[in-house]
């Protein structure tokens, strides 16, 4: 009985620690606003590489967040714009501008498990920017080393797992900066789906910033490299850049 009580106490202590880690990850300073360039290298299983470049702006408005992404290359995609309002209370809102349509199209924000513009990142991962949703997962601290916490995040139910495309995530959290260095995603059948490695992490204006992310899909053998550059947390970003008029105008 005493042993059972001890196990319960230890596991509850670990659960609390896990939640604390998640809180630290989510409260990590990522700037009130940021402007940055992103180079996406997409490599298929035959080694064929496609390169796309974007410039993006993100700004917090209280608990809400607005993000706009403009494609600058390849030329075929130049002018394509993607605007998202991540709302804390109401449903998220998303718009896509395709130069070939000359029209800003309202799109659903609910398909969060879909791949983001042909990459191996999902819309949800792009939106969360390495943060973890406490609404979607239960957490458990699996292990602790000198440098890392090994955190397990399990989808709260099958519906969430289906929406996100994975049932479990195992993250290797850097103890000093509370950023996952290696994250493994398991699909709804429990099989390893993809691995995210974050590297080239540097301080920009006192904020720890990832400059390289590599997402490898183990099932279709596709790999996405994200290289961030020209990261600027200081220069103010005008509110009117997060409008549909701005999506159309930026070519």
């Amino acid at each position: 009985m005493k042993i059972l009580l001890l196990i319960t106490m230890v596991s509850s202590l670990w659960a609390m620690d896990a939640l604390e880690i998640v809180n630290r990850i989510n409260s990590r300073d990522d700037g009130q606003h940021v402007k940055r360039k992103l180079k996406m290298e997409l490599i298929d299983k035959r080694g064929k590489t496609r390169v796309q470049e974007t410039i993006s702006y993100r700004k917090y408005y209280g608990e809400d967040k607005k993000t706009v992404i403009f494609f600058i290359s390849p030329k075929r995609l130049k002018g394509t714009g993607f605007l998202t309002y991540d709302n804390a209370i109401k449903d998220d809102e998303q718009w896509l501008y395709l130069p070939s349509l000359r029209k800003v199209r309202r799109i659903s924000s609910a398909n969060r498990g879909d791949w983001f513009l042909g990459t191996d990142f999902s819309y949800e991962e792009i939106k969360k920017e390495t943060k973890i949703s406490k609404d979607d997962f239960n957490f458990k601290l699996l292990d602790e080393t000198d440098d890392f916490y090994i955190l397990e995040s399990i989808a709260k139910n099958k519906k969430i797992a289906k929406e996100l495309g994975y049932s479990k995530i195992i993250s290797q959290i850097d103890k000093k900066i509370f950023i996952s260095r290696k994250t493994q995603f398991y699909d709804t059948r429990g099989e390893l789906l993809k691995t995210l490695k974050s590297s080239d992490i540097k301080k920009i204006d006192t904020i720890w910033t990832i400059h390289h992310m590599q997402m490898s899909n183990h099932q279709n053998k596709h790999v996405s490299h994200f290289y961030f550059s020209d990261v600027d947390y200081k220069k103010d970003i005008k509110d009117n850049i997060f409008t549909k008029a701005s999506l159309k105008r930026r070519r």
Binding site: R50, V51, K75, R76, K78, D91, S108, L117, G118, T243
Partner: protein, 415 residues
């Protein structure tokens, strides 16, 4: 002297501007399904030049060159009768043409965006059907098969757009009397349906009275306003148009003394009021457009997009046009009903795109089916194959082109 100084100043600005370019090249073949003959073997080139100035303003020039070895789409000549004379399409023999598609200057002043020049203005929420998207006339040389971006006829326009916190106001003035481009006799997509070309009684002398296209620079210019606002998760838009209809209105009068039937065709201007809405909830996006024209016609589109399937879009639209007065009923039903269905799926990390579009007119039981596959060879090159299948009543707007059903093969490169 002032003009000269202005020109010098513009040239200096251009010299310091950041100039970028984009060239799109496309080779496309259309093969008729009923006899396996080529309907089209075309080359299309588009040059987009843009000068971005330091103050955030920009100058945009878009020009196109098109050639068609088969010359069946518009045989022998281009019908440019309804074009404004200023910088209109330049025919290159009978097989090709050069066009200054767009040429405009855009600047931001005190939070407002001002555009001036030849351009396209696209309003509305509907896909594949034009209701609120009516500021530019349409080139019907290939019926509605090319993308609207390429078949819309850009016009000389002044645009003023003011974005406020959650709303937008836009004013448009169009000083260009170019109208819809209608295919000539003998063209592949010549209109024969009585919905477009009214039946003329046999054995009655006809007097055709084609009233000239109004062309007063000020008095005949078109104007339109738009105001849109986000309300919670819903965007609503209100529109007012005072425009010439880009199709001629036909009227007939029979003189009993001379026994002559006079058919008058003229461009008429009307006031239209419109409303649009889009709303997103979970996997669905709801879209609505309604328009009331001159108290004569009420039209509306209900659209429903579903994103519930992985990497896919399923979209359904219902379009209904209702004549409130009977005076125009000589060529169409009082209520006209069209349904569109679209399925899109992205495969292989967005390198392969599958699409199926159908448009079905319920009144005439005719329509158009368009399956298409696009594959990205690399970042800048795309190959595609598709079918444009017309079916149904041969007197219907779509069924009349049953013999023009075709297979499309193309390759496109951008650099």
């Amino acid at each position: 002297m002032k003009l000269f100084l202005l020109l010098i100043s513009l040239l200096i600005d251009l010299y310091s501007a950041n100039i970028s370019h984009l060239v799109k090249l496309r080779q496309e073949n259309a093969i008729l399904t009923n006899n396996a003959k080529f309907q089209k073997a075309s080359i299309y080139a588009k040059l987009n030049l843009q000068a971005d100035f330091e103050d955030g303003s920009r100058l945009v020039l878009i020009s196109t060159l098109e050639t068609d070895a088969k010359d069946k789409i518009e045989p022998s000549r281009y019908n440019l009768d309804k074009y404004n004379d200023f910088l209109k399409i330049l025919p290159l023999g009978t097989h090709g043409n050069l066009e200054l598609r767009e040429f405009f200057y855009e600047t931001e002043m005190k939070g407002s965006i001002i555009k001036l020049g030849k351009m396209q203005t696209v309003w509305g929420k509907a896909d594949g059907i034009k209701l609120i998207d009516r500021l530019n006339p349409q080139n019907f040389s290939e019926f509605i098969l090319p993308s609207f971006e390429e078949s819309r006829i850009p016009l000389w326009t002044f645009s003023f757009l003011k974005s406020l916190d959650n709303s937008e106001f836009e004013f448009i003035a169009i000083i260009d009397n170019t109208r819809n481009k209608i295919p000539i006799n003998g063209a592949s997509f010549e209109f024969t349906s009585t919905k477009v070309i009214p039946q003329i009684p046999k054995n009655v002398p006809i007097n055709k009275n084609d009233v000239a296209n109004p062309n007063n620079f000020i008095l005949d210019s078109d104007v339109a306003f738009r105001y849109s606002k986000m309300l919670n998760n819903m965007e609503i838009g209100f529109y007012y148009f005072y425009l010439y209809n880009d199709n001629q209105t036909l009227s007939q009068k029979f003189d009993k003394t001379s026994n002559i039937l006079t058919i008058t065709s003229k461009y008429e201007r009307s006031s239209s009021y419109a409303f649009s809405m889009d709303y997103s909830k979970k996997n669905f996006v709801y879209r609505v457009e309604t328009m009331l024209t001159n108290s004569d016609e009420l039209s509306y589109i209900f659209g429903l997009d579903w994103y519930g399937l992985n990497q896919s879009l399923l979209s359904l639209q219902i379009f209904q046009s209702y004549l409130l007065k009977d005076k125009n009923r000589f060529s169409r039903d009082k209520v006209d009903n069209t349904v569109t269905f679209l399925y899109k799926k992205d495969l292989m990390n967005d390198t392969l795109h599958a699409e199926l579009l159908t448009i079905h007119n319920i009144n005439d039981n005719d329509g158009l089916i368009r399956p298409k596959l696009r594959y990205e060879l690399d970042e800048e090159s795309v190959i595609y194959i598709g079918i444009d299948k017309f079916y149904g009543n041969k007197n219907g707007l779509y069924g009349e082109f049953r013999k023009q059903s075709r297979i499309i093969l193309g390759v496109e490169r951008t650099f």
